[in-house]
């Protein structure tokens, strides 16, 4: 039985008022859905921004109707200025990395399902949990407000490099108030995620139900736990870095601005700051951040594939160790973003080696998936299709990383479209596919209704083909020398590449439109979808033991007892080819040696 204090801490009365039920809710399930809604809105904003970027790249002088309403100075007559392109690009990256890729796989699905998968009634600190969502929400509002306040959003990229992030408006539109708003928004985001990580870690370690040893946790639960440990370490470093930049802006300090810097013919009133310091602090956070974006997807995809294959992975234990190895090693590789920053070439070697080593656990994970899939009778549905798509994207995007990991090659490829193609595929698309897979898989449990399978398959095939059409050519562009973060390419040597850009733009617009099928499916199914049974996928983990949708205290006042590992599939039991984790039934598995 739980320690009584542990039990009492997370116990809260069922909500009665509308505000308590749907707005300021203490229930982790509502908070998870709120995070999902935020991520959905953010993803749509980020996608529209990418459309505007792509149109400008293909047709530089074209007028985008209505853009002048968003910014008169940034897009006079609808034609984007180069500065405004950079501003839109910055917001695209910031919104997508923080408010979609960190929020949806980790905060949204993790909040909803981690307590249920460990057998708990709720997280141990529901008030902190509620605070974490609303702080993240305020962070999003602050970020979006930079579109309409001052002279627009910051233009320094989601990486916000010094010194341009610290010198103020002399560096361009949005570099004054825009940067301060960005830093405040991200600092708030860090606080929200730290509060979330607190809850995730304590839930996993302290609230597991009887019989649920750590090794009996489903892979998705392990992924969320490992991600929250990474988040705890990484966001605690980004937060002070943002504070230092805000101080450079408002208090006249010089943490990041070097002496004798002349911008726009003006000598900057700063002394002796370290420009590279920002890169160290940012990338110490930034590299674990991209693993925070992908590790939940690894866990979720493993979980879904096992259910669809009707057999466990070749080694669950190794998958867990590999996810842990990715987390630990991620802190030692951050310098690979700084190979051409002017730091000591020996340190480039020191970062290149762990970058190549970190491919080992990632490869092991992929090989376990592939070899587990071999010979499996996979049940094909939207969720398992997107899970397979995740593997495809992760591999396709990941292999380009081998090239970037080597400083000598990176000198040519740094800041080209090769890098952009790499991270979009391995992190952007793969994590999105993970989010889609999780949505199709868990929507029945979250909303009590099945999503439309036909629309799901159409969504998958259009997205799969579409994202390959968008991002594969990026690698070619990069190798041809196409620089990133340029709003247009007037140089002669890049002119032959413009048709490639236009092709990509067309693919992007079509793929973007395909996402609207998903949004329609989600909203339509939420209200008018086929009602779901408690366990439509015949799955074994604890979330499928409870009602659909789960009651406010997850298990109806009772606590499940766990008798098995989470993936007893491919067996002959009284209910079919699976044994649920909470079922006391003992069956002979293929792995029994007696």
């Amino acid at each position: 039985m739980h320690d009584m204090s542990a039990h009492a801490a997370q116990h809260h009365a069922p909500p009665t008022s509308f505000i308590r039920k749907y707005v300021f809710s203490l229930d982790h399930k509502v908070i998870g859905k709120q995070y999902y809604g935020l991520a959905l809105v953010a993803a749509l904003c980020g996608m529209v921004l990418s459309w505007m970027m792509r149109i400008h790249l293909g047709w530089t002088n074209a007028a985008i109707p209505g853009l002048q309403l968003l910014s008169k100075t940034g897009a006079p007559g609808g034609v984007m200025t180069p500065e405004y392109y950079l501003q839109l690009m910055t917001m695209h990256g910031t919104i997508m990395v923080f408010f979609v890729l960190t929020t949806a796989p980790f905060a949204a699905f993790g909040n909803f399902f981690l307590p249920i998968q460990v057998g708990a009634e709720d997280m141990p600190f529901p008030r902190f949990n509620m605070m974490s969502f609303w702080v993240t929400f305020v962070a999003f509002v602050v970020l979006m407000s930079s579109f309409v306040l001052g002279d627009g959003p910051t233009l320094g990229g989601w990486t916000q490099y010094a010194p341009l992030n610290a010198v103020g408006s002399v560096a361009g539109p949005g570099q004054g108030l825009g940067v301060v708003l960005w830093m405040i928004s991200i600092a708030l985001f860090c606080v929200g995620q730290l509060l979330g990580a607190l809850n995730f870690i304590t839930t996993t370690l302290d609230l597991r139900v009887k019989g649920m040893s750590l090794m009996r946790l489903p892979l998705s639960a392990w992924a969320w736990f490992i991600t929250s440990c990474m988040g705890l370490t990484a966001f605690s470093v980004l937060f002070p870095a943002c504070i230092l930049v805000i101080l450079d802006h408002v208090a006249g300090t010089s943490f990041f601005v070097a002496s004798n810097l002349v911008l726009n013919d003006q000598l900057q009133p700063h002394s002796g700051g370290s420009t590279l310091l920002w890169q160290h602090l940012f990338w110490f956070f930034g590299h674990p951040e991209v693993y925070i974006a992908i590790v939940p997807g690894i866990g979720i995809v493993s979980h879904i594939l096992i259910t669809s294959m009707r057999k466990p992975m070749l080694s669950q234990r190794v998958l867990i160790y590999c996810m842990g190895a990715l987390a630990v090693l991620s802190y030692g590789v951050y310098g690979h973003h700084m190979f051409v920053s002017g730091m000591n070439p020996f340190s480039a070697l020191a970062f290149s080696f762990p970058t190549l080593v970190i491919t080992i656990p990632a490869t092991i994970v992929v090989l376990i998936w592939v070899f587990s899939l071999y010979g499996a009778n996979l049940r094909i549905n939207s969720a398992s299709l997107f899970a397979l798509g995740f593997i495809s994207m992760f591999v396709s995007g990941g292999v380009s990383g081998f090239f970037l990991a080597q400083p000598s090659i990176d000198i040519m490829l740094h800041a080209t479209y090769f890098v952009v193609g790499h991270f979009h595929m391995v992190m952007g698309v793969a994590a999105m596919f993970g989010i889609f897979a999780a949505t199709y898989f868990w929507a029945p449990k979250m909303f009590g209704r099945m999503m439309n399978e036909t629309l799901g398959r159409i969504h998958f095939w259009l997205s799969f083909v579409g994202t390959y059409c968008i991002f594969m050519p990026f690698h070619y562009l990069g190798m041809a020398g196409n620089i990133r973060r340029y709003s247009s390419f007037p140089d002669d040597y890049l002119q032959p590449l413009i048709p490639v850009h236009r092709l990509i733009t067309v693919a992007a617009l079509i793929t973007g439109a395909a996402q609207l099928i998903f949004v329609y499916n989600l909203i339509h199914s939420r209200f008018w979808g086929k009602p779901a049974t408690d366990n439509p996928w015949e799955a074994t983990s604890l979330e499928w033991s409870t009602a659909t949708p789960p009651p406010w205290d997850n298990f109806g006042g009772k606590y499940p007892v766990v008798y098995h590992d989470p993936y007893q599939y491919g067996v002959k039991s009284s209910v079919g080819d699976y044994v649920m984790q909470a079922s006391p039934e003992q069956v002979k598995t293929d792995h029994d040696e007696k």
């Binding site: 040893s213 208090a251 003992q586 007696k594």
Partner: protein, 225 residues
């Protein structure tokens, strides 16, 4: 369907796992040799205990980031001006260490009180109030230190060394204020006799950590500034 609680099933001895080889597809050690299906201990630590370590880890990482910023900034510039630390800082340190001692005294008294021997402890919150007072004095003393620096003409942006002084001491003081909030919460809970042991343990751990952190910061400032 909703879960039901079942009796543990009887397992035949020949279905118990063999520890000689991997057994059960790699799931060794999930069922211990004596046959009890329940692997985990029945006791798990209260979440506040784990939580406070999580919080302390996050705070440590934040000050680690500030420390590395200090080292890099000092190393990258020629304009670093060292200055003598205001002497009141040492007095403040004594206050903070004393507050940790008084907090430990109060823990024992509260434990006696909440443990049922209420008659032996007249005012269980007295030493908590003393700790609170010492903590407030510490924060006030830090403010006096800032005033002293300002009197010498050293403001936040005057020099990188002063920037870091204000930054580190102010951040620490803000965290101490958070700890004071925790102490007030504990005092209020105690007055309603609703204080749980792990709440006081967590608050005390945080408070002692603030003391240790301050000793580290003082050493850092003394060496580097």
């Amino acid at each position: 369907m909703a879960t039901t609680i079942h009796e543990p099933p009887q397992i035949e001895p020949d279905r118990l796992p063999d520890h000689g080889h991997s057994g059960n597809g790699g799931w060794r050690n999930l069922v211990p040799a004596d046959g009890d299906l329940r692997v985990t201990q029945d006791y798990s630590p209260p979440p506040s205990s784990t939580a406070i370590w999580v919080v302390l880890f996050a705070v440590t990482m934040m000050f680690a980031a500030f420390t590395s910023a200090l080292f890099v900034r000092k190393g990258s510039s020629l304009d670093w001006q060292t200055f003598t630390l205001p002497s009141i800082l040492y007095f403040n340190t004594l206050l903070l260490v004393a507050s940790s001692v008084t907090l430990e005294i109060s823990r024992r008294r509260v434990a006696t009180y909440m443990g049922g021997l209420k008659s032996q402890v007249k005012s269980p919150a007295r030493w908590l109030y003393i700790t609170l007072f010492l903590g407030l004095l510490f924060v006030a003393g830090q403010y006096v230190a800032w005033l002293q620096l300002r009197a010498e003409g050293l403001y936040l942006a005057t020099n990188p060394s002063s920037s870091f002084f204000y930054l580190l001491t102010a951040t620490h003081a803000l965290h101490v204020l958070g700890g004071l909030g925790g102490l007030i919460y504990v005092i209020r809970k105690l007055s309603k006799s609703a204080l749980r042991r792990n709440q006081l343990v967590a608050t005390a751990r945080y408070w002692h950590f603030m003391g240790i952190l301050w000793l580290y910061l003082l050493l850092l400032l003394w060496i580097k500034l």
